[in-house]
Amino acid sequence: MTDYKFSKQIKRFSIILAIIGAIGIAFGFYNAPSNVEESKEIVAKMSHDGYGGDHSEGHADGYEGDSHGEAHNEGHGGGYGDDSHGASGHEYDHDKHVFHQLQNKPWAAIYVPALFFMMISLGVLAFYAIQRASQAGWSIVLYRLMEGVTGYLLPGSIFVIIILIFSALKFNHLFLWMDPEVVAHDEIIRNKVGYLNIPFFFARAIIYISGWVLYRNITRKLSLEQDNNNEISIHKKLFKFSAGFLVFFLISESMMSWDWIMSIDPHWFSTLFGWYVFAGMFVSGITTLAIITIYLKSQNYLSFVNDSHIHDLAKFMFGVSVFWAYLWFSQFMLIWYSNIPEEVTYFITRIEDYNFLFFGMVVLNLIFPLIVLMNSDFKKTNFIVILTGIVIIIGHYLDVYNMIMPSAVGDMWSFGPAEIGGFLFFLGIFIYVVFKEISNAPILAKGDPFVEESKTFQYYNLD
């Protein structure tokens, strides 16, 4: 057993990813229109490419008889937040609306991956806290990897906060309720001002982030202390902190999802949204953990990790994927069936403008892992776990994309340099921070009272 050294290849690889990503992001911002005329030109160009054709066709298709027209108008009105929509100033408003969407596009393109990678880290933190609070015996050998992934939590949340601050400073229109002019004309948002206002929004954000980072740093410190100190009191302290943190986490995570994701659609709400976002971050976190474990094992750093550990991680990937789909479907079906205009617009936008992504994501996140990981032997085959892991990661990136983009840019979405660049940029930083953090500590939490149980862990059904 040797402790992990931050390898040159990983360092170079992550820096290259971040640089390519930064170029892509810069290109995206450079391409964004700075006034209404420019945005008209871009839209005209897009329709030449056949994009506009699709767009108008989609709108012309009667979707569901009566309810459609009403609901759809509501959707645009909601996205725009302006009562005068549909009246005399329609032409002008539409151009201005598209202009705002195109202006939002590069911002949304970096907001999606910033949020996604922060949530991976947060999901692993929740997983870590659950292992600690349940005093699990199998996962001790993975503690240092989990602590490594949660090392990204602070930088990741700072990125998110920076984007939110830019939003509050009116550099973009991601959050409509931050614009006092919109609020003045919008009764629904006006009724929510007690909760959705800028000072309270940032105060909450600071509470969530400091709570998470505090727990993360305390447990990290205690865990490192445990390496040289066999006192059981440290173990007990870790247990207590973790159990307490889980209570805080479930509340703060739910509110985080309302604040940072759901409030992009200030008219729309869903009561299980917090759970849904949690399931997504949980499965992407566990998947990331599985991929890192298999990578480090292939580099001969984790001689004490055996097939049973991989098998357990893959079982979690399988189970939480199904759990995610259960919540996704519960949210979708209830809103689809009841067909209430202010609720159903959320899904009408997604089904009309994001059809392939919206349903394709379900294939990637449910059908693929369900079929591939059902077989017990596949769950310990490293190659298959990695393959499924990559599919799940892409699927959940698209899930977050589907949460943010429709409200931020409407049907003007694409996977251009800004979207791909944004993903690569945050991926590069994530890899750099995580592997750096793993290299900062011994690779095995050898002071944990359960460490021997974890090393000899054997799932009885595996040979």
Binding site: E64, G65, D66, S67, F329, F332, M333, W336, Y337, S338, N339, M374, S376, Y460, D463
Partner: protein, 173 residues
């Protein structure tokens, strides 16, 4: 010396597991092992073939899925289409979200029930069947190995005693 059938009793699952491994290593046939609860790894120790019931269950689930889709198609699309909540049932694909819970339940129902029935048939269990269990205490806290003694009875007995057997009983075939 003739080969005898033995009922060997143990009172701990770990001891039982080690003993079974030893018996198998000495090439003595084990008819059956009676335990009060499932002992993990016992099937591997007895060198039984891995069970196929999971594959059977998967197939039953697929049957349930198909039956549910056809059933909903017949009931809600072909036979008696209804307009529920402004959602006319004219095609299966447009109404599939409202059928998903039913399809899910039917899949689980078929998989679970047919699996249990298969298990009963495979284990030769049916209602009012008389228990084959030779020793009622194996439903409480004892473990019993029903085995063949091998050619050297006294040697086998000594070995079993050494492995931690609580009692050894010779039974007639």
């Amino acid at each position: 010396m003739s080969v005898k059938r033995l009922h060997v009793m143990f009172d701990d699952d770990d001891i039982l597991l080690d003993a079974v491994k030893e018996i198998v290593k000495n090439k003595m046939y084990i008819y059956e092992v009676y335990t009060p609860f499932p002992v993990h790894g016992l099937d591997k120790a007895m060198k039984l073939n891995p069970t196929n019931i999971s594959i059977a269950t998967f197939i039953y689930g697929c049957i349930g899925f198909t039956v549910a889709v056809l059933m909903m198609y017949y009931i809600m699309i072909v036979d008696w289409p209804q307009d529920i909540g402004g959602k006319p049932s004219f095609t299966l694909i447009e109404n599939i979200p409202s059928f998903v819970p039913i399809i899910f339940e039917m899949t689980v129902f078929f998989a679970a029930h047919l699996m249990v029935i298969t298990f009963y048939m495979r284990s030769k269990l049916w209602p009012f069947k008389k228990a084959e269990n030779p020793e009622p205490s194996t439903t409480d806290d004892k473990f019993l190995v029903d085995m063949e003694s091998g050619s050297n009875l006294s040697k086998t007995k000594t070995m079993l005693k050494k492995m931690g057997a609580v009692s050894i009983k010779e039974v007639k075939e």
